[in-house]
Amino acid sequence: MYTRIQHPLHLSMQFMLLFSRQGKLRLQKWYVPLSDKEKKKITRELVQTVLARKPKMCSFLEWRDLKIVYKRYASLYFCCAIEDQDNELITLEIIHRYVELLDKYFGSVCELDIIFNFEKAYFILDEFLLGGEVQETSKKNVLKAIEQADLLQESQNEEWGGLSEDIL
């Protein structure tokens, strides 16, 4: 038996997970409050379920009381959990838009980019989605905002002690 994901709120997206074909987690964005233990359990089970899917199967599956929308891009699986009333097809477009944004930012993005620059992947996601909903539908505007924020970060670093290279 598993603990039900409590969602008294009506949410569009409950969480988004990115993981490799070996089941290694590369990004996890949760829009519902859950304990670390619960998150781990969900992640483990869902990763197993999705990895077991055959290539000919459709991108949607019912899991617990959620709808799971997933798509594989090269070696990475992008996996979203949405509510029953949500539009699965547009969720696929949301996933695709995010990949496009990563691709534009990193220039031909691959899994390694996301491994080594995971914090940037989060920043980009947070300019695209907020609270599980799309906040900006223009690719250009999302990338512009990230660019500006990066510039701000760099300029401050220079200001603060000549560490012109990556502070991280």
């Binding site: 709120l9 009506h10 949410l11 987690l25 590369r26 990004l27 996890q28 829009y31 409050p33 859950l34 304990s35 781990k40 055959k54 000919k56 199967m57 459709c58 991108s59 949607f60 599956l61 019912e62 539009n87 699965e88 097809l89 547009i90 696929l92 477009e93 949301i94 838009r97 491994i115 080594f116 995971f118 914090e119 989060y122 920043f123 947070d126 300019e127 907020l130 609270g131 909903e133 799309v134 906040q135 900006e136 539908t137 223009s138 690719k139 250009k140 505007n141 905002a145 500006q148 924020a149 701000l152 970060q153 401050q156 670093n157 603060w160 002690g161 990556d166 502070i167 991280l168």
Partner: protein, 827 residues
């Protein structure tokens, strides 16, 4: 001496990835965590962000990072943008509202919401909108509301979604955001438009008052229609274009909001009719993005009060989806059709063959939906074809489907079986192909069905016998078979089958198979119970093997299975002390009253049929029948579907199960159900029509309630008038009590008056004794008589009556049909 700078984030990642084993990785992690901890202890401000970032990486690998929570808060409080960026990210990953420490963020967030730099404000809004607890939301709602009114579209769009989160956590705060929504849709910025639509959607879904307000006062529908129209009609906009479609995200959200506004509202639905038709017909379908919009449009059309032409358009879109190569599209089509099949049944029926094809799809989710939809589409017209497909599916589908599929087939067969033979065959097919997946509750239902198919008993028991001869491992099949053999074993050995070639089987062979079931390791305790009871029942049906049966029964009297032991002991008692009762107790089961929908012999008008389904039963008789001199009750029967009257005196047939038997056998301590019934756990309650018990006691079993059912004049001719008054039973809604009163307005008495009645086959009737046999002249008195009618299927009441009497020296006789029963007497 200054501490060396902590290892860089990317350097650490590179190092950890070189680990060849889990143990090696763990060691590296532990070493780095120790370094980070001491760094934290030293309050190193410069590299705090680097250390937290590393911690977040290790957290993602699955290692504990809670010691970094407070550090995140320090980062958030810092003035450096990098610090805030990492700090807020860390907060979103490491903290959650269940921990009190998250509240420490509140003040920082409040300050940052008012920061001079919009990117800092953005961080704060994002964090609050992602993980803000109810307390935080309460504290900061005012700030969010302020930002919702800013002209800065970058902040405005984030504030809108933050407001959505606040409302979700603290619904009472919804009102305070209302003023700020006033001009949201006048924005040109798509980000603001999109998030505003999301906010309005949230408010309308949560509050009927808000919904009404936005419909009436704000005239939201025309605004949304205008925006949507612009999106469709405007030329190419590179910024928002996705495969030739302008801002599909916004289009989909608008369509969803329209759905909520149009639901149950004629005016709103009408106002959006044109735009929906336009989107439905003009949207490009070659890519997923276009289909996503079409899908949302279909959902909206089906949910609002759209005109029928639009609904048909929507269903046809779904029909086209079903033929799409993209299985994702087929999946959503099936899901949507499942939702609409009840309301737009005929339209969905047109796509039945495509849906049935989806049963063969490779994808499990598609198969499941196709199965559910197929069951929803089965009706009397397509039952044969559909059942062929569904039985094939049952054969070949994954185990996870078999139980549901079997149940669905049983249900459909019960409702629409074109003949009893077909029905039995279908059940047999399911039991033999998916016998171990059949649900437990199917067994008693099937037994009841078989019992009621009287003319099929010989055929059924023969087929079941043959089925378990080869293989008695499928428990539900064996249970049903054992019960039937016990019940109809006599038909089996006498070779009486009409439907197919009767088999030659001896009593010993029958007992062999039942004993094998008893012994087999595969048989569950319940199944063994069935087998033993069956063996016992055969003691009154078989002639040569009674001793063998006695022996078997006595052996199991010492079985370690308590259930079996109890049964065997009781059956032994039947043989020894109560042998005189044995035949009565083990008699054939009567037809059971079923409290569900129409049986296979009825004309069914459901699931989109326009004419009655073609059936293989005889039609009811049409005209009145010629009179005849004979007083034979059967003469009343014009066709073959009228049952004779059950005479007043109680028959020798015993009540089939339950309390009354126990009363008669007062001194036997029968703790289980008597032998006539199978295992108590699995047999449904056999409800007794109350009037059968009236043979034992003449008190009416129900309260006289003045229901105000109007009386009728059933017959009035030659001075003889017969009135019917009605009462309904309090305890059994299927029983109607009719009291007849016969009166005579002529100048001479009518003597030797006999009233007889007959009803159609689906009813049962009981006539109690009349008050007298003389109807006095000049209406000076009446004969009263009580008729009880059992109408389990709530059919329209019809009755034929026959009157015989002597009057003015001649024998009089008349037949009449009573058709003017008031609806309250039978509904």
């Amino acid at each position: 001496m200054r501490m060396p700078a902590p290892i860089r984030l990317r350097e650490l990642i590179r190092t950890i990835r070189t680990a060849r084993t889990q143990a090696e990785e763990r060691e590296m992690i532990q070493k780095e965590c120790a370094a980070i901890r001491s760094s934290f202890r030293e309050e190193d401000n410069t590299y705090r962000c680097r250390n937290v970032a590393k911690l977040l990486y290790m957290h993602m690998l699955g290692y504990p990072a809670h010691f970094g929570q407070l550090e995140c808060l320090k980062l958030i409080a810092s003035q450096k943008f990098t610090d805030k960026r990492i700090g807020y990210l860390g907060a979103m990953l490491l903290l959650d509202e269940r921990q009190d420490v998250h509240l420490l963020m509140t003040n920082c967030i409040k300050n940052d919401l008012n920061h001079s730099t919009q990117y800092v404000q953005g961080l704060a809004l994002c964090t609050l909108g992602c993980m803000g607890s109810s307390e935080m939301c309460r504290d900061l709602a005012g700030e969010v509301e302020k930002l919702l009114k800013t002209s800065n579209s970058y902040l405005r769009k984030k504030a809108a979604l933050c407001a959505v989160h606040v409302i979700r956590k603290v619904p009472e705060l919804m009102e305070m955001f209302l003023p700020a929504t006033k001009n949201l849709l006048n924005e040109k910025n798509h980000g603001v438009l999109h998030t505003s639509v999301v906010l309005l959607t949230e408010m309308c879904e949560r509050s009927p008052d808000m919904l009404a307000h936005f419909r009436k006062n704000e005239k939201l529908v025309p605004q949304l229609v205008r925006i949507l129209k612009n999106l469709i009609m405007s030329g190419y906009s590179p910024e928002h274009d996705v495969s030739g479609i302008s801002d599909p995200f916004l289009q989909v959200r608008i369509l969803r909001l329209l759905r909520i506004l149009g639901r149950n509202d004629d005016d709103s639905s009408e106002a959006m009719n044109d735009i929906l038709a336009q989107v439905a017909t003009n949207t490009e379908t070659s890519k997923n993005v276009g289909n996503a919009i079409l899908y949302e449009t279909v959902l909206t059309i089906m949910d609002i009060k759209s005109e029928s032409g639009l609904r048909v358009l929507a269903i046809n879109i779904l029909g086209r989806f079903l033929l799409n190569n993209d299985k994702n599209i087929r999946y959503v089509a099936l899901t949507s059709l499942l939702k609409t099949v009840q309301t737009d049944h005929n339209a969905v029926q047109r796509h039945r063959s495509t849906i049935v094809d989806c049963l063969k799809d490779l994808d499990v989710s598609i198969k499941r939906r196709a199965m559910e939809l197929s069951f929803a589409l089965v009706n009397g017209n397509n039952i044969r074809g559909m059942m062929k497909e569904l039985l094939y599916f049952l054969d070949s589908c994954e185990p996870e489907f078999k139980a549901d599929c079997a149940s669905g087939i049983f249900l459909a067969a019960e409702k629409y079986a074109p003949s009893k033979r077909w029905h039995i065959d279908t059940i047999m097919r399911v039991l033999t192909t998916a016998g171990s997946y059949v649900r437990d509750d199917a067994v008693p239902n099937l037994i009841q069905l078989i019992t009621n198919s009287v003319e099929m008993h010989a055929y059924t028991v023969q087929r079941l016998y043959k089925a378990i001869l080869g293989d008695y491992s499928q428990q539900p099949l064996v249970q049903v078979a054992a019960w039937c053999i016990g019940e109809y074993g006599d038909l089996l050995v006498s070779g009486q089958c009409e439907e197919e070639e009767p088999i030659q089987v001896t009593e010993d062979e029958v007992l062999d198979i039942l004993e094998s079931v008893l012994i087999s390791n595969m048989s569950t305790s319940v199944t063994r119970g069935y087998a033993l009871t069956a063996i016992m029942k055969l003691s009154t049906r078989f002639t040569c093997t009674v001793n063998r049966i006695k022996k078997v029964v006595s052996i199991y009297g010492s079985s370690i299975d308590v259930e079996l032991q109890q049964r065997a002991v009781e059956y032994n008692a039947l043989f020894k002390k109560y042998d005189h009762m044995r035949s009565a107790l083990l008699e054939r089961m009567p037809v059971m009253e079923k409290v569900t929908t129409n049986g296979p012999t009825e004309i069914v008008q459901t699931n989109g049929e326009t004419e009655p389904a073609p059936l293989e039963t005889k039609p009811p008789p049409s005209g009145p029948q010629p009179t005849s001199q004979a007083n034979d009750l059967l003469d009343l029967l014009g066709g073959n579907d009228i049952t004779p009257v059950i005479p007043t005196a109680p028959t020798s047939k015993p009540a089939s199960a339950g309390g009354e038997l126990l009363d008669l056998l007062g001194d036997i301590n029968l703790t289980g159900a008597p032998a006539a019934a199978p295992a108590p756990a699995s047999v449904p309650q056999i409800s007794q029509p109350p009037f059968l018990l009236d043979g034992l006691s003449s008190q009416p079993l129900f309260n006289d309630i003045a229901t105000g059912i109007p009386s009728i004049t059933a017959y009035s001719k030659n001075g003889l008038k017969i009135e019917f008054t009605f009462e309904r039973s309090n305890t059994n809604p299927s029983v109607t009590v009719i009291t007849i009163q016969a009166s005579n307005s002529t100048e001479l008495d009518m003597t030797d008056f006999v009233f007889q009645a007959a009803v159609p086959k689906t009813f049962q009737l009981q006539l109690l004794s009349p008050s007298s046999s003389i109807v006095p002249a000049f209406n000076t008195g009446t004969i009263t008589q009580v008729i009880k009618v059992l109408n389990p299927q709530k059919q329209q009441l019809r009755m034929r009556i026959k009157l015989t009497y002597n009057h003015k020296g001649s024998a009089m006789q008349d037949l009449a049909e009573v058709n003017n029963f008031p609806p309250q007497s039978w509904q």
